[in-house]
């Protein structure tokens, strides 16, 4: 990106004082950074995100909210392939950065996982946000009623435990049956994951709250 370009530029312009030149070589060429469009030999880059059936109607509902920032601000072409049930993204000529495509793809993917559009848009705006997914069975093998109870514990009454975690760690979580997705910065994801895992393993919500309080206080103090 621009920083990379600046860095390369800087490297080039540093003169070497110490090396005496015998043959006057031609000056090194100055290259502009490659545009996204020019990458891969000028061919267009694609990303395809499949749409799960339960996200089909929400996609239809929020299509404009998705489309607008992707096309306008990220300058990525986006379309829905109804037959294949996929969302396709492709770079344009005036796409400023190659990473935009990836970001948009991540954004759409996040939406498909179940996150809300405003939350997912944070992915577009901030670099360091990631989505982590894991399953309950990765933490502890639970079957039948235990599994249901674990899911219940994760969400809490009216979702209050989930919201508590989200608010204190500045993340967003999606609990989809046995799959759990967390969206946020790396450290925050870690904290949220720890809390969720402790909930899965059986600790009561109060304990998790107290830990969250401590952690959030520590996080706040840092700044």
């Amino acid at each position: 990106m621009s920083t990379e370009a600046a860095a390369t530029m800087e490297i080039e312009t540093v003169p070497s004082e110490s090396k005496p030149e015998s043959n006057p070589l031609p000056p090194k060429p100055k290259f502009e950074p490659l545009k996204a469009h020019e990458m891969s030999d000028g061919r267009v880059q694609f990303r395809k995100v499949s749409v799960p059936p339960h996200r089909y109607s929400p996609l239809k509902k929020y299509w404009m909210d998705i489309y607008t920032p992707v096309y306008e601000q990220m300058k990525i072409d986006i379309r829905m392939n109804l037959k294949a049930r996929k969302v396709e993204l492709k770079t344009r000529q005036d796409t400023p950065d190659i990473s935009n495509l990836q970001k948009c793809a991540d954004f759409v993917q996040a939406f498909m996982l179940g996150f809300d559009v405003p939350d997912a848009i944070a992915l577009l705006r901030l670099d360091e946000l990631y989505v982590e997914s894991f399953e309950i069975k990765d933490v502890k093998t639970l079957r039948g009623e235990h599994l249901s109870r674990a899911i219940g514990r994760l969400s809490g009454k009216g979702g209050k435990t989930k919201f508590a975690i989200e608010n204190s760690t500045k993340t967003r979580t999606v609990i989809a049956d046995t799959k759990i997705h967390i969206l946020g910065s790396f450290a925050n994801i870690k904290i949220a994951r720890d809390s969720l895992c402790s909930l899965i393993l059986g600790s009561p919500a109060g304990k998790v709250y107290s830990k969250l309080r401590q952690v959030s206080a520590r996080l706040a103090e840092r700044f």
């Binding site: 405003p118 944070a122 901030l126 435990t161 919201f163 204190s168 709250y209 309080r213 700044f223």
Partner: protein, 544 residues
């Protein structure tokens, strides 16, 4: 009634009385009509003859026709009860003042005769009453009673007769005697005393005391004795008592008579054995016994006659023997030094007063003064309000209290992007940062409080109380006070603004030259020298 008829009836009654008296006891066993008739007539006569002596009786005559045995008896009883008590009183009176009997007697031989008659009537009353009981068929016991009471009555008469005679004699002596001095009593007392000393009278008193014990009375009065003997109730208990008394009395009479006749030397001297057995008598008798026995033991010793010196020598010898014996015997455990529990008897340490060193302060004895002093202390403390309460040590908080972040359990209204946006803004440009939730709350709270204060101030018409005095630092110059107060100084005042200790800059006890002691002078000089030396050394060091 017609007196002649009365006279004839009395004659018939007397006849019937005699008839009753003459009948054999076994005849009474079977109820007979003529006997009962005779008895009734006799009772009637007796009743009417006794009538003048009891004014309170409601009957003029004994009503016998058509009346039941019980009813007749009740009538007799009604009459006889008060009569008996009055008689008893009279006899008691005569006991105490025998001269009155003589007065009675002087009043007329009839007086004495009257008394005799009265006695007879009492006796016959007894008889009559017993007859009534026979009619009721309580036979055997009452027969016995009747016989014994008859005897008793006769004996009483005898006694009374003797007493009266003796009193008559006394009266005849006359002249010397008056209320206080009675020669007869004097003689009696002398005899008693002598007998007491020689142990004769004791027998009699002992018998009396026995009787009294049986009657459950400790003090025997001759009066009581005689009263009981007189008593003519028909209760079986009393009849039994009277039996006992009678028996004892008879025995006593016999014993006394024997002793008086057979008084011997042995009775007066060397009666140790008998005396010891008779110590069960009254306490005063015991005392007299002891004195008597002592006298006799002394008498015995006088016969042996060991000299005083010999006695002392004996005593000494015995003492020496004792002490030698004690020395030879093993010591008492208290004298033995260290003694364990096994080496002494069980519980022997309890009897000995052991002396310990107590390292513990003894518990304070709670007396009234102690409690009073404590209470006074408490009262003064309460009045002053000077309690020894533990004061909480406040930790001085150097840091500002941290804002406690509340866990928000509701769905956050801000999107994640907005959250990070805010965070970024706060990091880069804190000034433009929007207020946090807590700040907003504070703002709201302060707004509310301002409104409230406005309303409260309006209540007091905006007349504010003065602010509390905050002590500030102020500089005091050492200028005379008057100079500060007035522009045109009329006179210069001595009163400086500063206090003397604020003016004085120095330490310790300042002494005048003359006041210094020799040691202090020396010390001063030594200090000076030291300082000088130090300075000199410093100068040398600097130069170098």
């Amino acid at each position: 009634m017609i007196p002649s008829a009365m006279a004839s009836s009395t004659e018939t009654a007397l006849e019937s009385l005699h008839h009753i008296k003459s009948t054999e006891p076994p005849e009474w066993l079977v109820p007979k009509q003529e006997l009962s008739q005779a008895v009734r007539a006799a009772s009637k006569l007796l009743f009417s003859s006794l009538k003048p002596y009891c004014p309170k009786s409601p009957f003029d005559q004994l009503l016998t026709e058509g009346f039941d045995v019980e009813q007749i008896w009740q009538q007799i009883d009604l009459q006889s009860q008060p009569l008996l008590s009055s008689l008893r009183r009279e006899v008691k009176k005569f006991e105490k003042h025998p001269e009155e009997i003589s007065k009675l007697k002087d009043g007329g031989v009839g007086g004495g005769e009257k008394k005799k008659k009265v006695l007879e009537q009492i006796e016959t009353d007894n008889v009559v009453n017993d007859d009534e009981d026979d009619d009721d068929m309580d036979m055997d016991e009452d027969d016995d009673d009747e016989e014994e009471e008859d005897e008793e009555g006769e004996e009483e008469e005898k006694e009374r007769g003797t007493e009266e005679e003796s009193e008559n004699e006394g009266e005849e002596k006359g002249g010397i005697e008056d209320k206080f001095l009675k020669i007869k009593e004097l003689q009696e007392y002398l005899e008693e005393d002598e007998a007491r000393e020689f142990g004769l009278k004791k027998k009699k008193t002992k018998a009396e005391s026995k009787k009294e014990e049986e009657d459950t009375e400790e003090e025997g009065d001759d009066d009581d004795e005689e009263d009981e003997n007189e008593g003519s109730e028909d209760d079986d208990d009393e009849a039994e008592e009277e039996e006992d008394e009678l028996g004892l009395f008879d025995g006593n009479d016999e014993e006394d008579e024997d002793d008086l006749e057979n008084a011997r030397y042995e009775d007066f001297f060397s009666r140790k054995k008998n005396k010891s057995s008779k110590e069960k008598a009254k306490s005063r008798d015991m005392l007299e016994e002891d004195s008597g026995s002592d006298d006799e033991q002394d008498v015995d010793k006088r016969k042996d006659g060991p000299s005083k010196h010999e006695k002392e020598l004996d005593k000494l010898r015995s003492k020496i023997e004792e002490m030698e014996k004690a020395n030879l015997d093993p010591k008492v455990w208290t004298m033995r030094g260290e003694v364990t529990a096994a080496q002494r008897q069980k519980n022997s340490a309890l009897e000995v007063d052991l002396d310990f060193e107590h390292n513990v302060r003894p518990a304070p004895v709670i007396t009234e003064e102690v409690t009073a002093s404590l209470e006074d202390l408490i009262k003064t403390r309460i009045s002053e309000g000077l309690f020894d309460d533990v004061q909480k040590a406040r930790t001085s908080s150097s840091k500002a209290p941290r804002e406690i972040k509340e866990l928000d359990e509701s769905k956050s209204k801000k999107a994640l992007a907005e959250v990070y946006e805010e965070e970024f803004v706060q990091k880069t440009d804190p000034a433009s940062a929007l207020l946090t939730f807590s700040d907003e709350l504070k703002k709201e709270a302060s707004m509310l409080f301002k409104k409230l204060c406005l309303k409260l101030d309006a209540l007091s018409h905006f007349h504010f109380t003065p602010k509390p005095v905050v002590e500030d630092m102020s500089i005091q110059t050492n200028v005379p006070a008057l100079a500060m107060e007035e522009i045109a100084p009329m006179a210069v005042s001595d009163a400086a603004m500063l206090a003397p200790e604020e003016v004085f800059s120095g330490k310790g006890d300042i002494k005048e030259e003359a006041e210094l002691t020799k040691a202090e002078r020396k010390r001063r000089r030594a200090n000076k020298k030291r300082k000088f030396k130090a300075e000199a050394a410093k100068r040398m060091g600097k130069k170098a």
